[in-house]
């Protein structure tokens, strides 16, 4: 055995990487060679010292998201032949993958990107209602500005103004947007049915979600104005968050420079825009409020059913320098049934288990309202 080979064997011996026979051979040599003995001792010592490094326990954060994804997958597994996972779930898992930290009570903001990266904007505020965002500013009648305007328009084509027609045209090219998911599922099923930690993954119509996610991915790459706006609205992170972020940044630019008529002349600066007119009876109605001078909550959309019961509240603003969107959904009992908070490129879904407390602070300075009543009454969260 030459010297080089022997040196390697001594290292291997220290590493416990030799077969018993080889180990005996090398040990026999080491026993008679002080230099090799010292080498072996020092290597073993280093190995032992490194082995004594403590384990680094993983934080509990994020378990809720993982379990929600797992339950969803498990549910699918019982329905499908083994080996087949629905494509939309893959998308959902990818989206959730960007959820760095699902903190149940207070979300850690420390890692969030600096505020300057995001347009502090109204463009993003209604979140997943791109049609609304697109249609609201230009439509001459104030009642158009509602999350459900697209559906209203579809029901009564004669009422569709040119701007909304354009918006619908744009949507037709990418028929299933992230933003539509909520409007559609809300129409299709009552909110309680969708309650759950996996709100983002439990939309009752998986295929649209898949399409939405794919469409969104395309948006992220294409970043054409219309699409980029939708992307800005849909803050659910794409598999690789970078394109989405770029798209959002692109939107920020667009919103500043290219959106010519951000607010209809007839819209009061801080009023409500009601969408009652033109709605088919029984459809949810949305009311949009904006709070100029209150960066913490620049806008609030309240969606109610025909009886006036609050179904959901969507808020958007900037708190602690971080733009956020918060969606709260209320069940038939008037209790908070689920919530999704997006901020700094992250998304946190809260389901019944997490919502059990007395008070929930989604972000510092932003409480979730545990009842529909409280949601109606709460003053805007203007931040500290």
């Amino acid at each position: 055995m030459n010297h080089q080979a022997l040196a390697e064997k001594v290292v291997d011996l220290a590493l416990g990487a030799l077969s018993p026979r080889e180990a005996r051979e090398v040990e026999a040599h080491v026993a008679g060679c002080a230099r090799c003995a010292a080498e072996l001792a020092s290597l073993r010592g280093a190995r032992q010292a490194m082995a004594a490094l403590p384990p680094l326990p993983a934080p509990e954060r994020g378990e809720a998201v993982l379990m929600a994804a797992a339950r969803q997958a498990a549910e699918q597994a019982t329905r499908r032949p083994p080996g087949v996972l629905p494509r939309w779930l893959w998308g959902a898992a990818f989206g959730a993958a960007s959820v760095a930290a699902a903190v149940l009570v207070t979300l850690q903001l420390s890692g969030a990107p600096p505020p300057s990266r995001f347009e502090e904007g109204r463009e993003a505020l209604l979140g997943r209602e791109p049609a609304t965002v697109a249609a609201a500013p230009e439509r001459p009648e104030p009642q158009a500005a509602a999350p459900t305007s697209a559906r209203a328009g579809a029901a009564e084509p004669s009422r569709v103004g040119p701007a909304e027609a354009a918006a619908r045209g744009a949507r037709a090219e990418v028929p299933r947007r992230e933003g539509e998911r909520f409007a559609k599922t809300e129409a299709a099923s009552p909110p309680p049915a969708r309650a759950g930690a996996a709100a983002a993954m439990k939309a009752p119509a998986p295929p649209p979600m898949s399409a939405a996610l794919e469409a969104r991915r395309d948006h992220a790459r294409a970043a054409a104005p219309e699409e980029a706006r939708a992307e800005a609205a849909a803050d659910l992170a794409a598999p690789d968050p970078a394109p989405a972020r770029r798209a959002r940044e692109a939107v920020a630019g667009l919103a500043d420079s290219k959106a010519p008529a951000p607010r209809p002349a007839s819209a009061p600066a801080s009023g409500s825009l009601s969408a009652r007119a033109g709605q088919p009876p029984g459809a949810p109605r949305a009311e949009l409020r904006t709070f100029p001078g209150c960066p913490g909550e620049r806008s609030r959309a309240l969606t109610r059913d025909a009886a006036g019961r609050l179904l959901r509240r969507d808020r958007a603003g900037v708190l602690a320098g971080v733009p956020y969107q918060a969606e709260e959904r209320y069940g038939e009992d008037g209790r908070l049934a689920g919530a999704v908070v997006r901020f700094g490129g992250r998304e946190v879904s809260l389901g019944p288990a997490e919502l059990a407390g007395d008070r929930l602070e989604a972000l510092p300075g932003l409480d979730l309202a545990l009842t529909a009543e409280a949601a109606e009454a709460a003053p805007p969260a203007c931040g500290p």
């Binding site: 291997d12 220290a14 001792a41 280093a46 190995r47 326990p57 993982l66 379990m67 997958a73 760095a100």
Partner: protein, 203 residues
């Protein structure tokens, strides 16, 4: 209950639609994988993100998992690949080496060169531990990952070869380099537990 079940049994149960099996699996492995990611990336918050993504990939890929692939190896392979890919992107994006932040280490000299100590309290020592971590962090990434997978995660050479995409001989060679480099670095800081400088042990 599930405590005696093997990873593979748990995985099969998860495939059949039992989400609690996944929970057991996750609880069982999240700390070792987290530790690996922390020490491999040198960044706790990134490690946390990558840990999350690792398990989401498990959820996503569960249906396609086959019993012949060991779950543990699979988990570390996912984690390692995510970290390596992210590391590459980071290097490309930031134009900064992956190890840039890791080379900082406590100044030498506040510990005498011959201040050897017993192995057991070397890591427990509040002063020693950061140095042990720093020594690990100073390894080239390909040596560090092999060392961690072998010494901390306890994977076999074939498993490490699978996880890292290197052949077994390369893995063994990297592991040797890693241990020698660690020994040298610790010795240079007077932290070499059993190190006996060659000159002094001559009989």
């Amino acid at each position: 209950m599930a405590l005696d079940e093997t990873d593979e049994q748990l995985m099969r149960r998860f495939q059949r639609g039992d989400a609690r099996a996944f929970e057991t699996l996750m609880r069982r492995h999240r700390t070792p994988i987290h530790a690996f990611l922390c020490r491999f990336t040198g960044d706790r918050s990134r490690a946390e993100d990558l840990l999350q993504e690792t398990f989401l990939r498990v959820v996503k890929g569960a249906a396609g998992w086959e019993p012949r692939a060991g779950v543990r190896t699979w988990l570390f392979t996912i984690a390692r690949n995510l970290a390596a890919d992210e590391g590459r992107r980071r290097v490309f994006r930031d134009d900064a080496p992956l190890d840039a932040a890791r080379d900082g280490e406590a100044p030498l000299g506040d510990r005498v060169a011959d201040g050897g100590r017993a192995p057991d309290d070397a890591a427990g020592d509040a002063l020693a531990r950061p140095r042990l971590e720093a020594a690990l962090a100073a390894l080239p990434a390909e040596q560090r990952e092999v060392f961690l997978l072998r010494e901390h995660a306890g994977l076999s050479f074939p498993e490490i070869a699978e996880a890292t995409g290197a052949n077994e001989n390369t893995v063994k060679s990297r592991l040797r380099y890693a241990l020698v480099a660690l020994r040298d670095r610790l010795a240079a800081q007077g932290l070499a537990p059993d190190a006996v400088p060659a000159g002094r042990v001559a009989p």
